[in-house]
Amino acid sequence: MRKVDLTPCIAVLVGGLFLVGAGCGKSIQANSGAKSFEPGAKREATSVPKTTASTGSGPGSSSTPSSKPPTAASSPREPLSSEPETPIPSLSTLDSGPGPFNAKKSDEQRVPGDLLVAKTEPSDMSRRQVEEIQREQVATAASGLEDVYFGFDSWQISNEGKQTLMVDAEWIKANPSQKVTIEGHCDERGTLAYNLVLGEKRAKAVQTYLTELGINANRLTVVSYGKERPFCKDREESCYQQNRRGHIAIRVQ
């Protein structure tokens, strides 16, 4: 196969431009055992980005059309991070000046550092999510709620599925303080995008049936995970069947 370049990460000083590339940061993480994941084996030593990365006032702010609050689109918009809000940069303008791909006519070119990538650190939000998922899994297992399964390419609830949901509905009625998430899942066949829509159809079919059984719709949240969070990863029908599922989960606040 391909040659794997395992050159260790080296911080490089170039003519006053000092930066440790993001790839470098990752290697350090890998060495410290925090993360040992490398999606591609083909790796250069490290990248040395230029220092002209956007700073402070936010990217393209000069060309940002307006600073008025986002309209309809971004409904109640919680800040996604601790950073102060920055106007959404314009997507319809290109950077002025020679970009890295404008052919230069001079015979001598200085090649800047490779694409600068911010160092990635798991956010607090992601840690909270992981904890939340674990607590939900425990609560769901304890509740005894059962999942429903679907046919290939289908979002129809089978008679067997209806029996299951009737039992689930009794539990949900008996536990009025609990909120429930209905997750739609698909097997690995088909495209990622269409399976998200298919998963949502499955989740909504479950939601509709549960409301028909008298559950208040506002206790039921619907989410589709398509084929992104399979329960089983083997490539065979018994596994596919496991993954074509409407999963009923307890929501933990």
Binding site: G21, E38, G40, K42, L80, P89, V111, G113, K119, A193
Partner: protein, 437 residues
Amino acid sequence: MKISLVVLYLALLGGLIGIIESGAEDVFMEATRPDFQKIPIGIFGFRDGGDQDPNGEKAADVLRADLRRSLIFSVADLPKLGIRLNGRWEKDAVDKRLAQQASEQGISVLVWGKVWAKEADMLLDGYVYDGGSGDVVADRRYIGSSSVLRQMTHRLADELVFRYTGEQGIARTKITFVSEQNGGRELYVMDYDGYGPRQVTADGFLNLMPRWSRDRRFLIFTSYRERTKQHIDMVEIATGKRWTLISLPGLNITPALSPDGSSLAFATSQDGNSEVYKMDTNTKAFQRLTFHAAGDLSPAWSPTGRELAFTSDRGGGPQLFVMSADGSNVRRLTYEGDYNAAPAWSPRGNWIAHVCRTEERQYKLCLVSPDGQKHIRLTSGPGVDDSPSWSPDGRHLVFSSTREGKSHIYMIDSDGANLERLTSGGTSNTSPAWSPM
């Protein structure tokens, strides 16, 4: 245009290829045409600065691979043909005798150079001898840190492509993709040849279907940051700064920026079922484009920005449809098979790549012409092929496939030749998107 093409062919056949300067931009070279005559090019290699690191060899390997992928050149193995530089690597290293030797083997373009260090810099000198003009036609020096040797070599490759076609090369483009990490899906970017993958997000949950901004500074994607909500977010690659662009209730997926960046098409289920919308990126105003009780998703812009292809299961299974950019003139595009999805319109406009389900129920890549008349299957074999995305020169596609078990990112020529795997680590690499030039 035809005349210049003929002239070009004659020049090629006679080994008289001259330098085509920028005036040749209207020469449309469809490199995947079977009768296309590739330009024979010979690479002597790059002499090393003398240290142990085989940088010269590395640069030569990168250049050969870039030129092969350009589909413009056929790369000759000079040492195998007994054609060698005689210990000299300077600009005038190719003399009449050497040029004659190469010419007898039908090789009209010769490339050589040096990789060497000067203070903290690494330098790549590249020389190009052209048999047609009988002279060195390019003398390039690239200066940078030792970590960007591949990028310097990619520049030389792109320069060669530009000289001989008048078109921008793709050797410095990037590919974004999604990789599984700790059960989550995070965004990555890597070079177009699969080198140097770097992580962009670390949300710990799902980030799906990234797309590039025109200036390659941002990725636009579906984020499950709030787990039960799916927003369309944007991240600045260099800083990690995030914005939420679309947070309508329900599923907000398959973002697609129009060629001029003025409009972001996407699918949302705020109306109950998935519908295609677009948002004006300046005013942030929405326009609903599809009106159907079935699922409509995956909008893909034509290169002119006048039309959109999309997936809809309004006929039962998913099929491709085309509409005008204002949602009018909806017509069904695919009739072959009972599953066609994930459209990607080629930059030249002449094909729409997509995922098709074969009679053996395999999910493979297919091409359909925008008039629906021509239909070609591109890939075969086991596993699910998904998420095709065109190279900006329209000569290649990148896609994900489970053909070898785990999902990886692959590149393929637009005629189905030269399948090449780009990722090798990780548990699941999906949803690739090729950057603009």
